[in-house]
Amino acid sequence: MSHAQYFLEATYLIASCLFVLGLKGLSHPDSARRGMILAAAGMAAAVIGTLFHPDIHNYIYIAIGLMVGSAIGIPMAMVPMTAMPQRTALSHAFGAMAASMVGIAEYVIHGSSLGGIKMGALGLEVMLGSLTVTGSLIAAAKLQELMRGTPITYRGQQFVNLGLFLTMITSFVLWLTHPADAHYFYVMAGCAFIFGVLLVIPIGAADMPVVMSLLNSYAGLSSAATGFVLGNNVLIIAGTLDGFSGFILSILMCKAMNRSITNVLFGGFGTPVTAETAVSGAMREVSMDDVAVQLAYANQVVFVPGYGMATAQAQHAVRELGNVLEERGISVKYGIHPVAGRMPGHMNVLLAEANVPYSQLYEMDQINPEMPSTDVAVVIGANDVVNPDARDNPKSLIAGMPIIEVDKAKSVVVLKRGKGKGFSGLENPLFFKPVTGMLYGDAKSSLTALTQAVQKV
């Protein structure tokens, strides 16, 4: 090895260590920023080291790529927090795109002289990368509402998907056994691109947290496979960390819905259900002033946000109401379900943006024991995550899904746009309980009106 290569390997080793330290910093909000600065320094070291790579002779394409990439990347970091899910889906697409382009380029350059093992890794890299690119683009389109969020299903969908998957794997195997024949490689890559689309179109918007985590995992694993192809350890380490992070998140999201990954991917959840549970009683509508009085004389108020809070951009209005209540000496907490919103941690980021201190953000397991001593639970645009059927009705589609037990609070106020059903199309018995009052209207304007009403009490 030349001096230059030793220098390069040293920067990669430093980068690997800094990446791990950076992720370790994320175990607490106080150390998180410092951790990410370390990780960014690691990235800078590795990139600058690579610019001195002995094989690099031509800097034109590099300069173009770096400039165009920064020109797109920097504005993408400025999007409003409500657009985080689609932004993240897009960045999964870009990450996977990089990996799959590297894979295709390596094959174009070296062809079958790569050897079997590297071709195997390259095949995995290109397959995972390509299906993540199209899958993430579809997910982003659904989240941005360029496409309807409801599942797109058709007869024989699972057979089509299975057939395409088998074609992809068969061409992969044929390519490995006939390395000189590039056709198999391109058929494999093409199948992967189409498979990504077909995999995501039948998945409903409410299941997006799982899909986002899975795509995150695939993008990471395809980077790790790139590391195997290039024989580069820092790529393997960073890709594996990303892959496992996505994998852990998908498991957590599935647990929070009491469903398996296969069920999310192939279940076609969200299709209209015929076996409806009989709900007795009527929904009780409450007036703004009643709610304001209840809130003003409460000891503890818990807000439970859902995706509706994000669509109504109501996070600032919630915090203002929370501040007014706190000034009256009322204890204000926020109960956050792991799958509330469209990606893991979505609600936390929105509330943090609205200046809610993180000590007031409670996880489901922390807030549930507090529910019986809560005077008013305010549900803002959440539905399935507070549906008591999940706990009480074993026949329900969401049976066994852990919920935030707002129905155990002394009083529940549900802020809802209209009388329609939730995303999953399930009737929510919470709305019919005597303890629940419904406050219809846009969440943001309702909350602003409530804030003013509480101030007058």
Partner: protein
Amino acid sequence: MNYLLFNPAVLMVAMFENGSTAFNPAVLIASLYVFALAAFLGFQVISRVPPLLHTPLMSATNAISGISLIGSLVIAGSRYDHHQLLASVLGCAAVTSAMINVTGGFLITDRMLKMFRKKETAKAEEKK
């Protein structure tokens, strides 16, 4: 005879025959060690990230996996005997995509993490 293709033994022989010149078993084994250890380490480190920070975690790991930039840089800048243009263009596209994630990912992660404040600092921020 087609079913033979799915036989792992046949596949292994095929892989080794093709790769006997380019493939070095020691490198593969070392890479597998790195992969396995990184997986365990990742599992330990990431399990400790609280749900509070799951969105920043996702954007942070996204930014970090933008490290495929280093592979793309070499492809975009190297000289080849054939397919030079195609390789450079693919490399350039890869550099662009990876760079989007590196700059965008780290910036937005920092922007998000800045918003997670303690009670006192959040209140102080309010008053400004």
